[in-house]
């Protein structure tokens, strides 16, 4: 796997809605900019060999890095694959929609739920939003949130940006009634 860059973003919200938070709300993202394994090969029918070759390595690279960047236990998480303009969105999906990728994060974070995802094709510097949900119960409404990311100069047409996101809490100032109260 050829990795060109690793980008880390950590956001720490101290005030929301004009009110200070009891403790700063942290979200971290780590993104790897890699060569699209299927670039220049025309339509590749069977993506399995490429998935086998790269998905687990990517998960092993990103999962500990994003938890390290967060610096606190993760309570919500999500993932992203942003494909450069010459690739198929299917290429990005191939790398992240496999247990070989996500299990690294689940294991490292003691998580059980599926990772919500964004898959998108775009030019270098495209803005994307990573959805995050609770790591053990995807119905916990307080933890539904998304995080906006832009990696300058990536993905190039033959590249893919693969990212993991982790939040140490739900939304800042979250105060919606839980799902269970509506049932």
């Amino acid at each position: 796997m050829s990795v060109r860059r690793i980008v880390t973003v950590v956001e720490e919200i101290h005030t929301e809605g004009g009110r200070p938070l009891a403790r700063p709300a942290r979200i971290a993202v780590v993104a790897a900019v890699i060569d699209n394994p299927w670039a220049g090969q025309g339509f590749v029918e069977d993506l399995a060999p490429g998935i086998e070759a790269h998905a687990s390595d990517l998960g092993a690279l990103l999962a500990p890095a994003v938890l390290d960047a967060l610096g606190e236990p993760a309570e919500a998480y999500g993932k992203a694959a942003i494909v450069g303009l010459d690739g198929e969105i299917e290429h990005g999906s191939a790398l992240i929609h496999t247990l070989k990728f996500g299990d690294h994060f689940r294991k490292a974070a003691d998580a059980t739920t599926l990772l919500p995802a964004v898959e998108k094709r775009g030019p270098a510097g495209v803005v994307f939003d990573i959805p995050l949900k609770h790591i053990t119960d995807a119905t916990i409404r307080s933890h539904h949130q998304s995080f906006e990311v832009r990696v300058s100069d990536a993905p190039h047409p033959g590249e893919i940006v693969v990212a993991l996101a982790a939040a140490a809490q739900g939304r800042p100032q979250q105060r919606l009634a839980p799902l269970t109260t509506e049932q």
Partner: protein, 208 residues
């Protein structure tokens, strides 16, 4: 400590901090001679001068706010780049929201209350290069960096892109400190010591 942090937040009107760190593993298909990290830390703060006119003296507020920002931003930079000794180049920036003056951005970064302290905390000697602008939330700003003790070191001329997705609001200012742990990935454009003398008389491609 949490209490101290809260007091700091309120005294400088801090809404959020955004850390961005970039490691180049390969460039043009080859690994750099040594891995280099570039990072920026942006603080989104309330513009303390909102609604005041050009006659307003900016010193009292800049003397109160800028030193706190210098400490906060450099602490985060140092932590994210592996220690102050790892930092080789630096830069700074400010983006003022649309209800403010560009002078308000300058007030928080272009005076000794910020610049001298950033230089001291990052153990530099050079003047700190910068970018500033007025912009809507989410606009990118390219922040220049150069060597922290030898500003003319050409290998260390580089930039880092900074962006806060929802800042600055019209009544806010984004203040940035940035640094890197080394040069560009494959620096090879020489230096002042190796440059030939170039004038219109030595060149044939342009007429003197």
């Amino acid at each position: 400590m949490q209490e101290g942090l809260k007091q700091t937040d309120e005294s400088i009107g801090l809404r959020k901090l955004v850390l961005y760190r970039d490691a180049v593993l390969t460039e043009a298909g080859e690994a750099p001679a040594r891995p280099v990290w570039r990072a920026s830390v942006a603080a989104v703060v309330r513009n303390p001068w909102l609604g005041s006119g050009p006659a307003t003296d900016l010193v009292p507020e800049q003397a109160r706010i800028a030193p706190v920002l210098a400490r906060l931003l450099t602490d985060r930079l140092i932590a994210s780049l592996g220690g102050v000794d790892a930092i080789e180049s630096f830069g700074k920036a400010a983006i003022v929201g649309t209800a403010g003056e560009i002078e308000h951005a300058g007030a928080l970064i272009h005076t000794p209350y910020f610049g001298n302290l950033v230089r001291e905390f990052l153990r530099g000697e050079s003047i700190i290069c910068f970018a500033d602008t007025r912009a809507e939330a989410g606009e990118s700003l390219i922040v220049p960096l150069w060597h922290k003790t030898q500003a003319a070191t050409r290998s260390h001329y580089q930039t880092v892109s900074v962006r806060v997705s929802d800042g600055p609001r019209a009544d806010e200012i984004v203040v940035v400190a940035a640094a890197s742990t080394g040069p560009r990935p494959h620096p090879r454009i020489g230096d002042r010591r190796t440059d030939p003398a170039v004038t219109t008389e030595t060149l044939e491609v342009v007429s003197s």
